[in-house]
């Protein structure tokens, strides 16, 4: 068998969590390899609600309750540093009936028990003053000022890019097909060959339970929980100024209405347990349910054109907390069961993993250079986009050539993405790096041209 190499740490899964761990470990003198069956951030991580959660609704005492606020702080700072779009909109948690109104007290207590500042009460009158387009019938709301919206696609790409530049070996489109314990740690097999690693980190998301069993452990099963979402046209954006949440249940945070950093309005997600880990299709029932809810929550919304519908799968397990497990004897770490707060908590989970590895005896000596500085392309509407940047266009006219007419993505940005270290291999990859083809026409004007650019590698 072809020997790919020997590593100190092998991470399986380059989603938000796996990529964040790779970046965290890249600061140390370690040989690290990161595997993914597809592109970075192309699994469950690409289809989330794009919210930077505060964790006010987590169960006190859980790892999630601890890591979500920590992750919120780390990712907020990181976003500023590398240019990930974040908008601090805040959220309103709205009670629509007496039963929900009765539960607001519990939610306030829960937030306090998790160590959060007291949530503010908002009367119905104040609520409609702030969000005049909400449907009738809201009784009151809680204000959660820390909740923010974030670009869902850039974070894992930023983590992985930085890890790659710091020397982590990133093996995309390479599925780990076999796993065996060795006296020194682990042997991982892929279609390209075999890899030896002293430590194995399981960040395989939906497939984490399967890898967990292959590693000889048991204790959880991933049952994908499908969430369908509808993204509405940018013209709907003035309808809502912050995240509007329902009163959560134990099973789900419920269907939200939220602005996006791309300037759209999103409605979703539904929550439906499915058996197929590839069931990312939308359903007639799911879309109908969202539209019915949307019509009640924000009546004007459903008259706007729909820009996209999609479904994501949350990697839910039978446990209501993260499955963060470290086994020092077999040198195995599991970072799984991260249901819907993975993006927010990713950097805190990575920090937790690093600390635990250190405690378990992995020698962590910082590299002389540290992590290289990076700046990600800005995909958000709140900062200057290249097409708006007169100086940038003057310096390089390619930033004045708009290719994607709806999202105003320029030739310069496509060229840059196709020349970047983690080159996209398909249209979906190019979409997540640039926003190309994600707009209202969904490619009517530019799909053919963008496809050709991808084939030509940006030349």
């Amino acid at each position: 068998m072809n020997e790919i190499g020997e590593f100190d740490v092998a991470i399986v899964g380059a989603g938000d969590v796996g990529a964040a761990i790779a970046r965290e470990l890249a600061r140390f003198q370690l040989r690290v390899v990161l595997f993914d069956a597809g592109d970075v951030g192309a699994g469950t991580s690409k289809a989330n609600t794009a919210i930077l959660h505060t964790g006010f609704d987590a169960r006190p005492g859980t790892l999630e309750a601890k890591l979500v606020p920590r992750g919120h702080a780390l990712l907020s700072a990181y976003a500023e540093q590398v240019g990930i779009p974040v908008e601090r909109t805040g959220a309103l948690l709205v009670a629509w009936n007496e039963a929900e109104l009765g539960r607001l007290g519990e939610i306030e207590e829960n937030a306090c028990a998790c160590g959060h500042e007291p949530l503010g009460r908002v009367s119905a009158e104040q609520l409609y003053e702030r969000e005049p387009d909400l449907g009738p019938g809201a009784l009151a709301a809680l204000e959660v000022p820390g909740e923010a919206i974030i670009c869902p696609w850039t974070p894992p790409l930023a983590y992985a890019t930085q890890a790659l530049l710091a020397g982590v070996e990133i093996r995309r489109y390479e599925r780990v097909t076999g796993l065996a314990a060795t006296p020194d740690g682990w042997q991982l097999r892929t279609p390209a060959g075999a890899v030896g690693a002293r430590w194995l980190i399981n960040a395989a998301g939906l497939y984490a339970d399967e890898l967990h069993r292959q590693a000889g452990f048991d204790g959880f099963t991933v049952t994908p929980r499908r969430g369908e979402l509808i993204v509405f046209d940018k013209l709907a954006r003035p309808l809502v100024s912050q995240i509007v949440m329902p009163v959560p249940t134990s099973r789900t945070r419920g269907v939200l209405i939220t602005p996006t950093v791309f300037g759209n309005v999103m409605l979703g997600p539904t929550a439906e347990d499915v058996t197929d880990k590839r069931a990312t299709g939308t359903t007639a029932a799911g879309i109908e349910r969202l539209r019915t809810l949307g019509r009640r929550l924000l009546p004007a919304l459903v008259d706007y054109e729909v820009t996209a519908t999609y479904a994501g799968l949350r990697a839910a397990t039978e446990h209501d907390d993260y499955q963060l497990i470290l086994d020092p004897d077999s040198r195995y770490v599991c970072a799984a069961g991260i249901r819907s707060t993975g993006l927010t908590a990713s950097m805190a989970i990575a920090e937790w993993v690093r600390e635990q590895l250190g405690d378990a005896g992995l020698e962590l000596r910082e590299t002389a250079d540290g992590l290289p500085e990076i700046r990600m392309p800005n995909l958000g509407e709140r900062s200057l986009r290249p097409y708006q940047d007169a100086e940038r266009i003057a310096a390089d006219p390619a930033y004045g050539e708009i290719v994607c007419l709806c999202e105003r993505v320029t030739w310069g940005e496509l060229r840059d993405a196709l020349a970047a270290p983690l080159t996209p291999r398909d249209l979906d990859g190019l979409r997540r790096r640039t926003r190309v083809l994600t707009g209202r026409c969904q490619g009517f004007y530019c799909a053919a041209q963008v496809g050709r650019a991808l084939e030509a590698g940006g030349r």
Partner: protein
């Protein structure tokens, strides 16, 4: 940022925009600039290779690209400036646009702005079709650009959704590119094109038309593998294997600049509300072509572009803007009527264009303002996706103080 000024700015260099530009210059307008976001002017006809373009405006039958070239040449010859590869991204102020192009970021102000941004076919997501999101689900626009602008060859089986003119154009394009159309679907009881096109589709390309049938799910990943279709009469679902799905027609006007300018939309067309002169509800802002409804054939769009020139010139020379236009609205089974308003000043007396939600024949149309019947007209047939013309002679007798005017079908027979 540099700023420029023109007498008239036209946003969109398709048939409507180019025709408006040529006509304005021929009537003696000063600087006329057409802002076109594509590198080549001409709009949708650039990538529509079938013939039949130009019958209504140029009185000859041309291919799409020939037609696009002629209109662009005519505009240039008349002295209009074509600013291609340049997108009007937003308003900087009233009648002042911000532009991005390879020349940089500029602003362009004018005495009058004509929106001629056209429309696009509603994509899969906006049609709310459930299922996976594979590659290979495209619109006619994408198909034509792939085949005619990029020279792509396509293999395999295709399902075409829609049975209007444009759907048959998609059929021809698929055939030419090497794909085989295994089914054409329409929710209606029959096709909505000319008999000759439908016969050509059925015989020439052996594409079976499935009427009263809708696409209800898409399967496959990463590429499309099959679709589920539902027969609306029996409720029966069946699977059709295919490698391509082409979604045709179901046009959405590109109304973003109209909305951000504060122009009122016509709820029925989703385009800006215009009167017979092409005036929107924002002084100095006009609209022409398929931005006002989705969609008319290119030559009809061109004629609306030509017709808007009159009122644009009048506005530039100081004529007043109508204050309270009278709305014209229609009731089901009628879908929309364009123009949707009467401004009662300087309007052309061209016919109004009327659409229905379903296929109808022997239709008696009645135009009524409050209790008064202004007009009655018989139409032999009304097809979804095709406009019927309604005479405008009655407009002179309408009362400028009573809104709306209601257009309805007082009797009609459903086509089966």
């Amino acid at each position: 940022m540099s700023s420029e000024r023109a007498e008239v700015v036209i946003v969109g260099g398709g048939p409507a925009g180019l025709s408006a530009a040529a006509e304005l210059r021929m009537r003696g307008a000063g600087r006329v600039v057409v802002v076109e976001r594509e590198l080549d002017p001409g709009g949708v006809p650039r990538h529509s290779h079938h013939t039949g373009f130009g019958l209504r405006d140029l009185h000859r039958s041309l291919s799409g690209p020939e037609y696009a070239r002629r209109l662009a040449d005519a505009a240039t010859r008349a002295g209009a400036e074509l600013m291609t590869g340049t997108q009007a991204t937003e308003w900087r102020g009233p009648l002042e646009l911000e532009l991005t192009g390879p020349g940089g970021r500029t602003t362009l102000a004018a005495d009058a702005v004509v929106l001629a941004t056209g429309s696009w076919e509603r994509p899969r997501s906006a049609r709310l079709i459930p299922g996976t999101r594979p590659e290979g689900v495209i619109t006619t626009g994408i198909l034509q650009q792939l085949v005619y602008l990029q020279g792509a060859r396509l293999a395999g089986r295709a399902v075409v959704v829609g049975a209007e003119h444009v759907s048959y154009s998609a059929l021809a394009t698929l055939h030419r590119a090497g794909a085989r159309t295994v089914a054409m679907l329409t929710e209606h009881p029959r096709h909505q094109t000319f008999a000759a096109f439908a016969l050509g589709g059925a015989v020439g390309y052996r594409a079976p038309l499935r009427t009263r049938t809708v696409l209800s799910e898409i399967h496959g990943s990463p590429r499309v593998e099959a679709v589920t279709v539902t027969d609306l009469q029996t409720g029966e679902r069946s699977l059709i294997e295919c490698e391509l799905v082409v979604l045709t027609a179901d046009w959405i006007p590109d109304h973003a600049l109209a909305i951000s300018a504060g122009a009122r939309l016509d709820r029925a067309t989703r385009g800006p509300l215009i009167d017979g002169a092409g005036r929107t509800t924002v002084p100095g802002l006009f609209a022409a072509g398929n931005i006002t409804q989705g969609a008319e054939p290119a030559d009809v769009a061109a004629i609306t572009g030509r017709n808007v020139a009159n009122a644009v010139a009048a506005h530039v020379h100081g004529s007043s803007w109508p204050r309270s236009p009278v709305r014209i609205v229609c009731a089901p089974p009628l879908r929309w009527i364009v123009p949707g308003a009467i401004g009662f000043a300087g309007e052309s007396s061209g016919p109004l264009r009327l659409r229905a939600l379903e296929a109808l024949r022997d239709v008696l149309i009645e135009v009524r303002q409050a209790e008064r019947v202004l007009h009655r007209q018989r139409l032999a047939q009304l097809m979804p996706g095709r406009s019927a013309l309604l005479a405008s002679t009655w407009i002179a007798s309408a009362d400028p103080g009573i809104s709306p005017i209601l257009v309805r079908a007082v009797s009609a027979r459903r086509l089966r």
